[in-house]
Amino acid sequence: MNLNEDTILWLYEITDVIIAGLSTGSVYALMAVGMTLVYGVTKAFNFAYGDFFNMGGYFAWILIFGLGFQFGGYLGVLVIVMPLMFAVGYGLEKLLIAPLRKRADWENKVMMLTLGLALFLTSLYTVVFGARMKSLPPILDGILEVGQLVFSYQDIMIFVMSLGGIMLFGWLLNTTRLGMAVRAVAQNPIGAKIVGIPRERIFAATFAISTVMVGFGGILLSQKWFINPNSGGTIMVKAWVVTAFGGMGSIRGGLYAAFIIGMLEAFVGWMFGMSYGIIALFVLLLATLAFRPQGLMGKGE
């Protein structure tokens, strides 16, 4: 087969775009699953989700650049930051959200509270880190050459690690006692109460797990993009679009949606420029809401 040079160039570019779509898509998947989990279990929406993404990135940044932490590379960073994210999530849930649940109409109050928390965290980041963008070093530098195709290790590692994170989450949810209790509360809160599952503790643990997942996503994507105090809003919007497109409360839907949206963003960015990516997301969201409001795999009303 004889290919002219233009075609070959085009093929390279397409491959690049697909790899980029897969790697961001996998991180979106991680975030969407975390968001769906909280919504599925507590039926409340966490508007500070995007700022926990930044929190993960900032924690890693503090370790690497602020404290000069070098032990064990990124694995060492994760070993420290992930439990920290869990503790932050658990603590915030117990401290701020749990007291609200005793009141009527608490789902809406939680939304207002997390919205306030998002504003607070954004300001806090600005004060502590300044408005300048920060970036994390890549997990692995360099490129992988397969024949004439070139892949960056960074993209591959992001993809592999977020997939690993999702699988770990799947294992946690499907086989551990905590995971079973979480699913039980999501499927039938009364049934869960009857068998003696402490709902409050499960809510806090769920919130904490989702905080870990989005914080992990933050560490992964901050190598590719930049973190700044305001980027939480964009992330929040993306996670929300993925979750709504996949179907609120459907974990599998969220996974599919994440990869579709990651690809969409990569292709639109390649064809029209990066800033069109987010427009494409909103067009997709509008189309979803107009034609299939329950999302890809949502159960509908």
């Binding site: 699913r183 039938n188 049934g191 869960a192 109460k193 009857i194 003696g196 599952i197």
Partner: protein, 234 residues
């Protein structure tokens, strides 16, 4: 074993139980009868910590349990088995049973209880890997009772186990409850109908409009003129 005295229970503004006093001794099957919506279920739920506002005394093995969180009550050995079953629909039968053994007290006995439950309900063995949502009404009812037994409870609060079942399945579930009782479990059971249930009861209470209107043994209940009127319309 269980002593309820002067219990009042409320759902929001409505006052459901009015000065209810009930006692259940170890090893008994006590049946609570009464028309629908007169507070029978509320009594069971109050005992198991599932009603927000209850006033009065509930003691279990001389310990005050009124106001305790449900998970603590389950851990003490009481379990509520719901009339509408409250299973986990998208989990397998086995997972539902394992969640029944969630409480601390139950975990250590999970294996032996699973064996015992499968012996009592052999049909659940074949359905082990099936989602709870795919089961028939009778099987789901068995699963609800089985899940309750997994909690290792000594005291079972069973809410209308015959609801929505055909007569042959009703008899089956009643005889299973009798067997469970023979294995040493104490049972407080809520039902609507007298004749079928009377023979398995050690004692019978009747609840009307949130109050206990009758207390006695099955013979007395069957011959009571007022109860005949209430239940049989005679």
């Amino acid at each position: 074993m269980l002593q309820v005295s002067n219990l009042n229970a409320y759902y929001g503004e409505s006052h459901v139980l009015r000065d209810v006093s009930v006692a259940v001794n170890q090893g008994e099957v006590v049946v609570m009868l009464g028309p629908n919506g007169h507070g029978k279920s509320t009594l069971l739920k109050s005992i198991c910590g599932l009603v927000d506002r209850t006033e009065g005394n509930i003691t279990y093995n001389d310990r005050d349990i009124n106001g305790l969180a449900t998970e603590k009550i389950v851990n003490l050995g009481l379990i509520y088995i719901a009339e509408n079953r409250e299973l986990f629909p998208y989990m397998t039968v086995l997972e539902n049973l394992k969640l029944g053994a969630y409480s601390k007290n139950a975990r250590a006995h999970e294996k032996e209880n699973l064996e015992r439950v499968f012996k009592l309900f052999p049909r659940l063995v074949d359905r082990k890997k099936q989602f709870a949502s795919t089961m028939s009404g009778g099987e789901a009812r068995m699963l609800a009772v089985a899940r309750g037994l997994m909690s290792n409870a000594d005291f079972l609060c069973i809410d209308e186990p015959s609801l929505g079942l055909q007569p042959s399945l009703r008899l089956e579930i009643f005889s299973t409850i009798k067997r469970i009782n023979a294995q040493g479990k104490t049972v407080l059971l809520v039902e609507q109908n007298i004749p079928q249930i009377a023979e398995m009861a050690d004692r019978i209470y009747v609840m009307e409009e949130g109050r206990i209107s009758f207390e006695g043994n099955p013979d007395e209940a069957l011959n009571n003129e007022h109860l005949k009127e209430v239940f049989l319309g005679m």
